[in-house]
């Protein structure tokens, strides 16, 4: 393993200074230790930028990605660098530009489309499922759809019912799609590079609430393969499988639980499809307990699939039922206290882990 393939620590040695240093755009801040300090925004933007330099088949399309520099400033600077032929503002027409991207991908290009948020991918659902996910199979492998669909996923800050979807489970249900859900800048950059160098439609699920997260990552080029999870915290008492922003809530919960003498192993699958069930199972064989934490709904969520798999392959290893901490089964309410109860926050994770440990 080269330095670049070992996950760096989650916490950087220092933070970016917004007054003097870029907090978005493609450039990180070089550190004396030979690494670069980047935010999640920078990590994603940098991956896009480096790959666009490498491969002129890649273009970016979406609402406000160009002149506005991205609704959440993830594509900052790319228009200036690559021009309006490759960084393209669209009308509000998700179904249209998703289908356009499928056609462009079938004819040799590598589109990256941004959904201002994944909530709006529901408008484009048929193009994603009936066209993007099936094209390779339906054409007997004649055509492929190298397409990256990206944007913020999961609950934003108090944006209520129609703007708070987490779609990991929704898209994982369909063969033909790859579902990526990074929790750190390091993972996001390495996974985006992989996404841009392979030939399948990828749902690249970012999370607005961790766009500002900072980390020290390698300067040199690296990739993170799909289907390989990462242990974000080692522990022997309970396995906590967490996705995207939930990783951070889980780490918070783990610190609290440690005070009660419960050591959690926080496993981040990084890609929900393909899913690194082997890594999860290996951890469970050690801890004999598992709790899954995610922002999807419980019914048919990522936790449902993981629990279903574990009760099969780890049937004799589990000392307690696999617990599921998810968004509760209601549309997202606006009120602060209700939103707080709806999300899989640390207090709910702590309770679930204690239950799994019969404490």
């Amino acid at each position: 393993m080269t330095a670049a393939t070992v996950s760096p620590p989650l916490k950087p040695s220092r933070n970016l200074d917004p007054k003097t240093e870029p907090i978005n755009g493609p450039k990180g801040v070089l550190l004396s230790n030979g690494r670069q300090l980047v935010s999640m925004r920078i990590a994603i933007c940098q991956a896009l930028c480096e790959e666009m330099q490498r491969d002129d088949a890649i273009f970016i399309m979406g609402e406000e990605v160009a002149q506005y520099q991205g609704a959440y400033k993830v594509t900052k600077g790319l228009l200036d660098q690559f021009g309006p032929e490759r960084v393209i503002d669209t009308p509000i027409t998700e179904s249209g530009f998703t289908g356009l991207a499928v056609g462009a991908a079938m004819t040799g290009l590598r589109p990256v489309i941004e959904y201002m948020s994944w909530n709006f991918s529901l408008v484009a659902f048929d193009q994603i499922i009936s066209n993007a996910s099936k094209m390779s199979y339906m054409t007997g492998g004649m055509f492929s759809v190298p397409l990256v669909m990206r944007g913020p996923n999961g609950a934003g800050p108090r944006v209520s019912s129609q703007h708070s979807h987490a779609v990991e489970a929704l898209f994982s249900h369909f063969p033909g799609l790859i579902v990526v859900s990074p929790s750190t800048p390091y993972d996001a950059k390495g996974l985006m590079k992989t996404a841009l160098r392979q030939n399948n439609p990828v749902c690249f699920l970012e999370n607005e609430m961790i766009y500002g997260l900072e980390q020290e990552i390698p300067v040199e080029d690296y990739q993170i393969p799909f289907g390989k999870g990462d242990i974000k915290r080692a522990g022997g008492d309970c396995t906590v499988v967490a996705v995207s922003r939930s990783v951070h809530w889980s780490l918070e919960a783990a610190e609290q639980l440690a005070k009660d003498g419960i050591e959690c192993e926080v496993v981040d699958p990084r890609t929900v499809k393909p899913l690194d069930i082997d890594l999860i199972a290996a951890s469970v064989r050690k801890t004999n307990r598992c709790v899954v934490v995610e922002e999807c709904y419980q019914t048919g969520g990522v936790g449902a699939e993981i629990a279903a798999r574990l009760q099969d392959i780890c049937f004799d290893d589990l000392d307690a039922p696999v617990g599921r901490v998810t968004t509760t089964e209601n549309p997202m309410p606006y009120a602060a206290n209700l939103e707080n109860e709806t999300l899989p926050k640390p207090h709910r994770i702590v309770a679930a882990v204690k239950k799994a440990c019969y404490r």
Binding site: D89, I92, T93, V159, P331, P333
Partner: protein, 338 residues
């Protein structure tokens, strides 16, 4: 696309006479209430009493003002996007319950479940504010379907932004409304931008209603100065009467929003000069001037009205602030209807 300077100088004096003192004063007060309500909401947002999105209608008050005066809450229906505060106020909803909704309190318009983008009123036939661009267009069409099915003589007004015109739902709805002769009015509030995207970069035609209506065998109207209550009111009068005969109508109102798309928008996509040019056309100031010119209002009277409105808004803020959060047992309430 801009508000047309070459707008045929409509006869404001004649329209004013048509409206009459009482009505014009009422609309003026409503427009002022909308303005003050939202100005205060913006302040409360800065104070972090309100979070999430907050899309303000400031600058566009004449459009809704002109239309709602011709609608009968209850008999007629209306629906709009997330920019949904003004409609609720023109329909006469209490600022208290609306501000409380923005604060996320149980006393809110929808019990703190919806927030800024989701005001509704069953009693007034207000099918509310919707967060998905274009998502409300078929819903408004459905209300028109009900009016026809039940032969109520009601109409349905669907407000949408220029940015929603490229969405498939716009196309699908207009085709159905035309095929089935639904009393559906579609009002494109063209405030020149969809977020940071100038409508010229999003829609392939200039005068949207005029260019698109023939493709649906529909009649079109253009409100060339959507910051002028008189023009909005006069066109709305004609359009609503037309729709009541059982025909769909497409209207474009060229208007402008003074604030950012949502409160977090820096607004670098438009020039200071452009903004100021439109601020010169402030719809509320112009109505005030007209009222005074007509001798229906004095400066003192205007002062007084503003004071009353400000008081109502302050009371609304206080009410919202003092109202309790929803109890936690609200979490699973109304996921399913009884």
């Amino acid at each position: 696309m801009a508000v047309s300077s070459t707008a045929p100088t409509i006869d404001r004096v004649a329209i004013r006479a048509q409206m009459g003192k009482e009505r014009l004063l009422r609309i003026y007060q409503q427009m002022l209430l909308v303005r003050r309500f939202e100005e205060r909401a913006a302040i409360q947002y800065q104070a972090r009493k309100i979070l999430g999105f907050l899309h303000l209608y400031i600058g566009q008050e004449a459009v809704a003002g002109g239309f709602y005066d011709h609608l009968e809450g209850g008999k007629d229906y209306s629906v709009t996007s997330y920019r949904c505060h003004a409609q609720a106020l023109f329909l006469g909803l209490d600022p208290k319950e609306l501000m409380a909704e923005l604060f996320g309190k149980i006393t809110g318009n929808v019990r703190g479940k919806g927030g800024s983008m989701h005001f509704f009123s069953k009693e007034k036939g207000y099918l509310g504010g919707h967060g998905i661009v274009g998502g409300q267009i078929p819903v408004g069409t459905g209300a028109a379907f009900t009016a026809k099915y039940r032969k109520t003589g009601g109409v349905s007004v669907t407000f949408l932004g220029d940015g929603a015109v490229p969405q498939g739902t716009f196309h699908e709805s207009l085709n159905m409304a035309s095929l089935w002769n639904l009393p559906a009015i579609y009002v494109i509030e063209n405030n020149m931008y969809g977020m940071g995207t100038a409508c010229t970069r999003a829609v392939a035609v200039q005068d949207m209603a005029v260019a698109k209506a023939p493709g649906y065998n529909m009649k079109a109207w253009t409100i060339r100065d959507g910051l002028d209550l008189f023009e909005c009111w006069a066109v709305a009068k004609e359009v609503v009467a037309y729709a009541r005969t059982g025909k769909p109508a497409l209207v474009e109102a060229k208007t402008y929003r003074y604030r950012g798309h949502s409160v977090s928008d820096a607004g670098q996509y438009r020039s200071k000069e452009e903004l100021e040019r439109y601020q010169q056309l402030d719809p509320i100031e112009r109505v005030k001037k007209d009222l005074i010119e007509a001798g229906w209002l004095t400066d003192a009277g205007a002062e007084q009205i503003d004071e009353q409105v400000q008081t109502r808004v302050r009371e609304a803020v206080q009410f919202a602030d003092e109202s309790p959060e929803p109890p936690l047992d609200e979490l699973f309430k109304d996921v399913y209807a009884k």
